[in-house]
Subunit: 317 residues, 2 copies
């Protein structure tokens, strides 16, 4: 193969990680810079260029690179821009794709981080060989990437797949988006912490979680308590899994996927979260789908997932 | 064009209508038979053949026909079968596509009626030129056909697009599918009648609807009362539009369509139903989509819509 490698770059609110990847999903090399270091996007691109050039040289030079795939919050595949990302310091519309391809001289494509994760699973992970699946990322927020007929769904404007902002509970919790009751307000790491606080404040029950100051409880603490058989922790996962299972039943009614694939911090809870999800998904599915929808955890190694996901985009250039 | 015509055939619980259609969506001729007349599917096909042959001869013979498109409840595009359709008298799996193509000697494709309606709108109706839209049929039930990137979404098993069975109200009304709270239980013609009954039974208010025996109130009666300014009728449309607008906001978060297109009996209520739908859709949309999603009524003449929708499938053979 003339150009055996692609570059994957994941822009997070804190760090930007990037690496060089081969067609089998091996990460040859990777590195990172602080996303928030540069208010000026051009200085940010300069620093990325400096760091990445070292990796590119080691891989045999830019002539070996097919393209660059970028996953970024509010990354729009159609325009190549990052548009009004609330968690990044650059305001307005950033033509990131153009800035990168001008700098490096290779084609660059961009999409949001959850879409990148979906392409990553399809190319190297749990969705290999699947043409219809839904990726749900359970991190600080809840993101999603939808694959139909082997292609990522971008929709009319490039912003399709905002399943974290479908309504789980009408007039429910305030979400970061300003609306109420979104799936994200319940099924994200933050959502799990909020559920913990609500239960501990409203119920007069013993729990290991009471050993942690209520404002600093995280989903990790809940997992840790569950491992020790804490009933409140189990109740929190049951509630979270119910919300997710109910939501997923509606997603299935939309696109009839072969599988729903879960990624992100919350999946570390393993069966504590998987069992209630599957239980409530099955309870809420239309009969034709009962017992037929796979629910899987990501097949990508967590430390490589961000780079792999975004790199996979570049194979499609 | 060698084969300038297609045949469209719509199998309903009561009637099967079929006709010959040209590329511009003109229905050259059409006819119908009773779907329920024949318990034996082969006798049914024989009768369709007898009736359709007359129309085919008038159009210049079977050599002018590119193919047959069939819309049918539970029609599966992948298998060509009608599978376990609760409203048809044939039990189990009916290989309708094969029966038709064997009989007529031209390719036959099948899908469910709402999908056929979506293809019809894209080919001849309100969605001409659109690549991303959602069709919602508001009839006895609530059906849907989803078009992404110019293609109908069939999903992994061919049954995608069951938006009538997404959950509008958790633990809400019993739906025909056996589950509770489905959109269909509220936004179908039946759902509107149920809403009318609930309000009239639970509220001690005057209404023109009290002139009709409560068990026989239909969505038409509600429309008629609304035309005369009846407050309860307006409240019924407001409630129905709220349920639909809320549901549609979640559908938009899935596929970011250019438009949602509404078809079926309930749309005859015009602005009485459209205004609350748009109002509640806008209230529930994520900010990026506010003011950007078109909500349109079908662009097909009602009497031709069933034949046009299914015929449009045959252009894609």
């Amino acid at each position: 193969m003339d150009k055996p490698y692609v570059i994957g770059m994941d822009i997070g609110g804190t760090n930007t990680v990037f690496g060089i990847v081969d067609a089998r999903g091996n990460v040859l090399s990777k590195s990172a810079v602080k996303t928030s270091k540069h208010q000026d996007i051009n200085l940010y691109i300069d620093e990325i260029y400096k760091e990445l050039s070292v990796l590119i040289e080691k891989a045999g030079g830019i002539s070996k690179i097919k393209g660059i795939g970028v996953g970024a919050p509010n990354g729009n595949h159609y325009t190549g821009n990052i548009e009004y990302a609330p968690n990044l310091q650059w305001r307005g519309v950033i033509p990131l794709s153009k800035l990168m391809s001008d700098k490096f001289g290779v084609p660059t494509v961009i999409t949001n981080d959850a879409n990148a994760a979906a392409i990553g699973e399809m190319t190297y992970g749990a969705a290999r060989g699947m043409k219809n699946f839904i990726m749900i990322t359970l991190g600080t927020g809840v993101g999603s990437g939808i694959v139909i007929d082997g292609k990522l769904v971008y929709g009319h404007d490039g912003f399709a797949g905002e399943l974290g902002h479908t309504c789980s509970i009408r007039n429910g919790r305030l979400c970061g988006c300003g609306r109420h009751g979104c799936l994200e307000a319940y099924a994200s790491a933050n959502g799990v912490a909020r559920t913990a606080k609500e239960i501990l404040q409203n119920q007069n029950v013993d729990s290991l979680l009471r050993n942690t100051p209520i404002e600093s409880i995280t989903s990790k603490d809940v997992h840790y308590a569950a491992l020790q058989g804490d009933k409140i922790a189990l109740e929190i996962f049951e509630f979270t899994g119910k919300i997710l299972g109910e939501a997923m039943a509606d997603f299935v009614a939309f696109s009839a996927p072969e599988a729903v694939i879960l990624f992100g911090g919350l999946t570390k809870a393993g069966d504590y979260i998987m069992k209630p999800i599957v239980n409530h998904l099955e309870k809420n599915l239309l009969q034709i789908w009962q017992g037929k929808i796979k629910v899987l955890f990501s097949g990508l190694k967590e430390s490589d997932a961000a780079v792999l996901g975004s790199s996979a985009l570049a194979w499609e250039i």
